[in-house]
Amino acid sequence: MGMSRIECIFFSEFHPTLGPKITYQVPEEYISRELFDTVQNKLITVYVHLDNYIISLLMDQTAMEKKLIGCPVCIEHKKYSRNALLFNLGLVCDARTKTCALELIVKKLSGYLTTLELESGFISNEESKQKLLPIMSTLLEELNATGACTLPIDESNTINLKLIEQRRDPLIVQEYDVPVFTQCKDHFIKSQWDLTTQQILAYIDGFRHIQKISAEADVELNLVRIAVQNLLYYGVVTLVSIFQYSNVYCTTPKVQSLIDDRSIQAECLSYVTKQGQKRACLRDVFQLYCGLTPGTTVRDLCSRYSQQVQRVDERRLIQYGLMKALIRRLQKYPVKVTRDERSRPPRLYTGCHSYDEICCKTGMSYKELDERLENDPNIIVCWK
C-alpha cells in the first residue's frame, strides 16, 4: 500500500520543566527544531486552552510541504507534576497524501496510549516510556510495508492497526442495471462475502440485470441492489446496461485508448475473442467499435462487418466497451407532447425514463413498447 506512506512517527509531550518537546522520533532528526517550533502550539499546547478537558483533536498542518497528523491527549490526575499528562503521538507524511486513512490510525493509536497510561502508567513511567521507540519503528516499518500492524505491548494490550483505503461512494443500483465482474470471477473468494452476495453470485454473468437476478436467485430485489452496491463499492463489479441486439451504441473519445494503451489493447483482445478461436486482431476489433454509430444496431453491425466479427464475441465486445467506457449506450427516451389540457399528464413518458426503465417497471417487452408508442402521434422519442 504505497498510497499513504508515513515518513515519520514522532512522540511529543509537554515536559513539566522543559515545555513542549519531541521526545522520540523515527527516523531520528526528521523534524527539525524550527519546524517543531512553528507548529508546536497546534500540536501540543492546544488542549491546555481547552481547560483540561480530555479532548482528541485530529489535525494536519500543511507546513514545509508536509502534513503532520496528531491527536493530542491530556490526562488529568493529581499524581502528575502539573496535574496533567500531555502527550501526542503523531505522523508526518507528504503534503499531497490523502490523510483520511492515516487520521484514523493516529486516533486509534492515541486511544491505545491512553489506555496503556491509565492501566499501567506506561507513559508517565520513564522506563516503560522507552519502549515507545521500538514500538514506533515497528509501526513505521510495518504500516509502510503491509498497511497493517499487529503489535503486542503487554499481556492485555495489543495494537492492531490497518490502513483502510478510501473509496468513492458507489452509484445507486437500478433494477435495469447489469452487474459485471471487473476481474476474473475465479479470483473471487466466495466465503469472504455475506450470504446474500453468495447466493446471487452465480447469477452475475454480465448479462442478467438486477431484476432478473432477483427473480432467478429468489432474493428480494432491494437486497440484490444493496449487495451489488456493496460489490460495486469494492470495485469487484461494475455496471453496464442490458444487452440486446436492437441496442444502439456510439463511441466516446476513450475509444482512442485502444490504440494508445497497450495494456488495454491486450486485455480487450483477449476479452472479446470467441472461445476456442484464434485471438482477434486489433484492426477488426477497432473497426467494430468504430462501426457503432448512432442508428446502427448491434444486429446491423454484425451483418455489416460479418468478416470482422468472425472471431469476436459481439456480446463481450459490447460488454468490454461499456466497462471501459470506450462506447456508451444510446438510450431511447419517449416524451409525450400533448396539447390537450384534459388528458392527464404522462407518468412515464416525460423524457426522464428510458426504455430500459419503462420496460422493467411495466413488464412490457421492448417490442411491445415500441409498437405501443409508434401508434401514438403525440409521442416523440429522443436518443441520448
Binding site: 478537558y53 484514523l104 486516533k107 477497432f286 423524457g351
Partner: protein
Amino acid sequence: MYIHSSSFDLQGERKSMYKQSENSFFKCGEKTSPISVILVTSGSRGNKLLFRYPFQRVADCTSSLTTKQRSPYALNTTGDVLEDPDGDSREQTPLTDEQLVAGFSDIILATILATKSDMCGKKFELKIDNVRFVGHPTLLQHPHTIQVSKTDPSPKREMPTMILFSVVFALRANADPSVISCMHNLSRRIAIALQHEERRCQYLTREAKLMLAMQDEVTNMTETDGSPQSPFRQILPKCKLARDLKEAYDRFVKTPYKIMYLWIVSLFLQCRCNNRVCCVSSLCTTGVVRLHINNWLEVSFCLPHKIHRVGGNHVPPEALERSLKAIRPYHALLLLDSEKALLAQLPLDCSPALVRLIKTCSAVKNLQQLAQDADLNLLQIFQIAAHLVYWGKAIIVYPLCENNVYMLSPHANISLYSPLAEGFGQQFPSHDLPSMLAKFSLPLSLSEFRNPLDASVQEAQLIQMVVWMLQRRLLIQLHTYVCLLVPPSEEEPGLLRDEELPLVARVGGRSLSTPSALSFGSPTSSDDMTLTSPSMDNSSAELLPGGDSPLNRRMTETLLASLTEHERQVILNIPAAQSPEDLRMFARLLHYFRGHHHLEEIMYNENMRRSQLKTLFDKFRSVLVVTNHEDPVISLFQSPLG
C-alpha cells in the same frame, strides 16, 4: 431550493438551467460551502478572534466540550461519507454545519488559527476532526512612522500593534481539494486587499478596535449579570453592522450557507454595499463574489466548480484548466449571455480589450478571425477567452458551420416539464424543445437541420436555436478521427509483436512535426506560444507542385520510413498509392492518422479542404479506420464523461 424562489430571479434563464439538478446541487452544496468565516489577529496583545460568523449558540458554548468526550475508537460519522462503506450509518443524523464549528470557543479558535509569523504568506490548512480551516495568514508591516502622527496626542506605546491577521474559512473536512484551494485563494485575495487598505488608511486597525471594544463591553456585562452570552450576539442591538448582519440572516436564513457567509463577509468588510441584493443573487446563481473592501478595493472571486455544471455534475477546476490549455486557434468562443448583459456586468475599470472582444465575438468566428476582427494579438485573445470561460461567461466550441454534426448530449435534460423547455418556448414561440431535441437524436449536420425549412428567415432562427442549445450544453459536436490500422498479414495474424504498433510511439519519436507538440493554444504561458504553421517542417513537399520529381519521391519515402515493412507493403499495394500525388499527400498526413486529430484540425493545420481529405480517406480506406466522437479537448464543456 429556496434560492430559486421569489426574490432572486434576476437571472431568470440561468436560474432555469440550474433547477434541473436541484438535488445534486444541495448535496454538493454541503460539501463545497464554507461553514464559517473567522477573522483572527495576532499582535502585541496576544491572539484575538475579532469576528466569527455564525455566532455561537449559548447552549453550545457550555455543552460542546463535554459532548466532545467520546470514545477514541468512535468513527467519524459526521457527514464523512468517504468513511462509510455501505451506508449503514446513514440513518444517524450528521452534525449540521453550525454544530461542527460551534464546538470551538473563540479563545481556542484564536489560539489555533493565529499562527506564528514565519507561517505567514503561505497557505494555512488545519484540520480538526471534521472541520478544515483554510486561510492565508498575512503579515502587516507596521511602519511606526505612520502611527506617530503629529496631530495624534496619544503616546505611541499605548497603541496595540497588530502583527498579523488571517481570514479563515471553515469547511467540512471532506471538501474537495480544489474547493479548498479556491477558498484559500479567496482568503488570500481578501488578505491582500485588507493589507493594502491597512497601509493606506489603517482600515483594519480601526475596524479591529471597534470590534474589540464591543467584545470587551459585552464581557464586562456578562460578568455583572452572570449569564454567559455570545459577545457577537450582545453586540447586536448596539451596532449598525450587527443589525445589518442579523437582517441579512433573517432574510436569507434559508439560502445555502456559502452564499450567506460570503454575503456576511462582504457586509462585514465593506459595511456599506451599494448593490447588496444584486450581489447576493448573483452569488446564488453563479458562485461569483465581488466585494468592495472599505468601499474602495474590489475583490472579485468565483468558484469555478459552482459555475460550470453539466447535468448536475460540477466540473473540477483543474479539469477546466487542462481544457483551457488545450484551446487552439480554430476554436471559437461562445458567450453564454447576451452581449449587452455581459457588458453590463463588467467592472468599470476592465480592460478595453475585453469589451472589444465581447463586441466582436461570434459563434461562427474562430479565435484567429476574432483576433483579426478585434485587432488584438492571438495570445491576448486566448487569455481573455480563458478568463471568460473561467468566470463562466463563455464556453469553447468549434465555430458553427454547415458541416458541423451535432447530437444530443448524454446529459441533456429532455424532460417535458423542465424550465428549459419553458424558456425555449418563450424564446422561440411556435417551436417546442422536445421535438427540436428529437431531431438531434441521430447525428445531424447543420445543413441537414436547415434543409426541410427553406426560407432564409427561418434559417437564421434555426441557427439561433442551435446556439441556444449549445449555450445550455444540450448538444455535443461529433468530429471525425482517422486511425491507420493495416490488416495483419496472413502469417502473423492477431497478436501484435512488440515492434509492431503503436504507430503513435514510433511516429511520435521521429522528428516529424507532431502537431500535438506544438502547443499552439496554451493561453496561460506565453513562451511556448509557437505561432508557426504546424506544417512548416514538411510543407516543403508542397512547394513543388505536381511532378513526380526524385525529390518528391524521396520525401515520400522518408515519411513512410516510420512504418513497418509490412505496413509499407500494404499501403503501397493500394491502387491509390500508384498515383504519386495521392501517396505523397497520404505520407504527408501520416502523423495525423493516429486518432488524435480531427478532420477540422487537419484542415486547419494543413490548409486543406474537407473534400480533399474525404477523398483521400476514401482512397485509402482499406488501411484507415474512421471514427466519430466528440472532441475530448472541449467535451468538458458539453459532456464531461470521464
